[in-house]
């Protein structure tokens, strides 16, 4: 199996927003980070792919099947922002609910994860902190032998320690080559840590789909003055921003740029900076 998840030409129109022919893949055994500012279309893409909202056009294939039936859903673990479980339940009661929903529910794994996360089994979810709720949701997603995890802003609003625990779990999960993860987040530092591929969505369109290594190892930012900026070959520029005291120019091959413009200061670009220059920069 080549791709665990594939969307092609996914389209959805709202009054004030259009998800415009979004296409990308999640290769098996990899972590794909879906990035973009708030309202860019990350959640709409995930919701349309999961059948939560009706798509107008496009094809979605999950674990090699275009129809999202019960068998496929057994193999997907989905975590949204917030636990999305009835707050009156306790984790123990949730176990009883879930084992009657998933054929493959493994309560040994579930209770093991609750213990690992120090989550109380008999406390109502409404008494949990946001971090605890997220840990519970992730425990549930891991407890039915999922092959594909889809996390929509699951780490947003969590403290760095909890986020780090969760990222470690995700890295452990993809040690099995059959396992894959699609994670949408606007916290790009998390994705820099774990993602193999980055898909950048802006205003409902996919701007790029690249390996993380290509972005972090090849992309760069030229920092220069106005005169140097004027001297640049404009075909080398992806986008640029005029700051208070300098120009910042995003380039796709920083080593080549350093050779071409030896006097220019060319620095590596973080995913955050790349995203910012794409969104706020001029072309």
């Amino acid at each position: 199996m080549a791709n665990a998840f594939m969307v092609s030409g996914l389209t959805k129109t709202y009054k004030d927003f259009v998800l415009d022919h979004v296409s990308f893949t999640v290769p098996s055994g990899s972590i794909v980070g879906l990035i973009g500012e708030n309202g860019a279309g990350k959640s709409t893409t995930i919701n349309a792919a999961l059948g939560l909202i009706q798509k107008e056009d496009g094809v979605v294939s999950i674990l090699d099947k275009e129809e999202l039936d019960g068998d496929i859903k057994e193999q997907i673990g989905v975590v949204f922002d917030g636990s999305n479980y009835p707050e009156i339940l306790s984790p123990r009661k949730l176990n009883r609910v879930m084992k009657n929903i998933y054929r493959t529910w493994d309560e040994r794994v579930y209770f093991g994860l609750l213990k690992q996360f120090s989550l109380p089994c008999d406390k109502q979810i409404k008494q949990f902190s946001k971090g605890m709720k997220m840990k519970l949701a992730i425990s549930a997603a891991f407890s039915h032998h999922s092959r594909l995890l889809i996390l929509d802003e699951a780490t947003s609003g969590l403290d760095p320690v909890v986020r780090d625990d969760i990222l470690d779990m995700l890295l452990d999960f993809v040690q099995d080559e059959e396992h894959s993860i699609l994670v949408s987040s606007h916290i790009t530092s998390d994705l820099e840590k774990i993602a193999d591929y980055i898909v950048f969505i802006h205003e409902g369109k996919v701007v790029f789909e690249k390996t993380k290594d290509e972005l972090t190892e090849r992309y760069g930012i030229i920092k220069c003055g106005a005169a140097q900026f004027d001297a640049l070959d404009k075909s080398d520029i992806i986008s640029y921003r005029k700051m208070d005291y300098e120009w910042q120019i995003l380039v796709s091959d920083r080593e080549r740029m350093q050779k071409k413009y030896p006097k220019a200061l060319v620095v590596p670009a973080t995913i955050d900076e790349i995203m910012l220059l794409y969104v706020k920069g001029e072309k």
Binding site: N47, F80, N84, P86, E87, K93, N100, I101, Y102
Partner: protein, 209 residues
């Protein structure tokens, strides 16, 4: 579907217990004032309030968004809610029968005729109300659907009155009261089933976010 039903039973458990205790106490208490079997009119309606507690809880926790990603189809989600509603109505009816049976054993005059009559009125009112409010719970936001829920019980009594008046045009309701309310019950069951089909169709195309 079983897991979703277990979830609803957990959510509604305390409410169900309160309803059962209240109905039993009310049944014995009413026996000094009026016919205990009249409780059968109120009991199924009162018991089904737990269904709306579960719907409100689902909306508050965004459970509906979560459950669609699980191996549960949209049809099953709707089917479970309608089944849960019927189970609650049946539970209410059975609970109200407890004081009736106990008091009948102690010699109180409770006839099968009155049990059937009040039982059919209670179930009819519950099914008609549910047939209005359950699909609306998936059409409107929680605040609006709560208003619809309260209005639906008033509407159901109006519909029953209307149906009885219509039946009275064909046969005398006073002389055939059990038959008349039997017809109302059958219409209510059909309405509830049609309502389920409507809710399934509405929910199939509904965006959940």
């Amino acid at each position: 579907m079983k897991g979703v039903l277990v979830k609803d039973l957990y959510i509604a458990r305390s409410n169900i217990l309160v309803t059962i205790v209240s109905l039993v106490v009310l049944g014995f208490g009413l026996s000094f004032l009026l016919e205990t079997s009249a409780l059968l009119v109120l009991a199924p309606v009162a018991a089904t309030t737990a269904a709306f507690i579960s719907i409100t809880s689902d909306a508050a926790s965004k459970w509906n968004k979560n459950v669609i990603t699980m191996p549960v189809s949209r049809n099953q989600i709707i089917g479970e809610k309608f089944l849960f509603y019927i189970l609650l109505a049946a539970l209410g009816l059975l609970t109200a029968l407890i004081p009736c049976v106990v008091l009948a054993c102690f010699g109180m005059d409770i006839t099968l005729h009155s049990l059937c009559l009040y039982g059919s009125i209670g179930i009819s009112a519950t099914l008609l109300a549910g047939g209005i409010s359950l699909p609306c719970a998936y059409l409107f936001d929680p605040e609006k659907s709560q208003i619809v829920f309260m209005m639906s019980f008033m509407a159901s009594t109006g519909i029953i009155t209307g149906l009885v008046l219509l039946i009275n045009l064909v046969l005398s309701v006073k002389e055939n009261i059990l038959l008349a309310f039997g017809i109302v019950l059958i219409i209510s069951v059909i309405w509830f089933f049609i309502s389920y089909q409507i809710a399934v169709k509405v929910y199939q195309k509904r965006d959940i976010s």
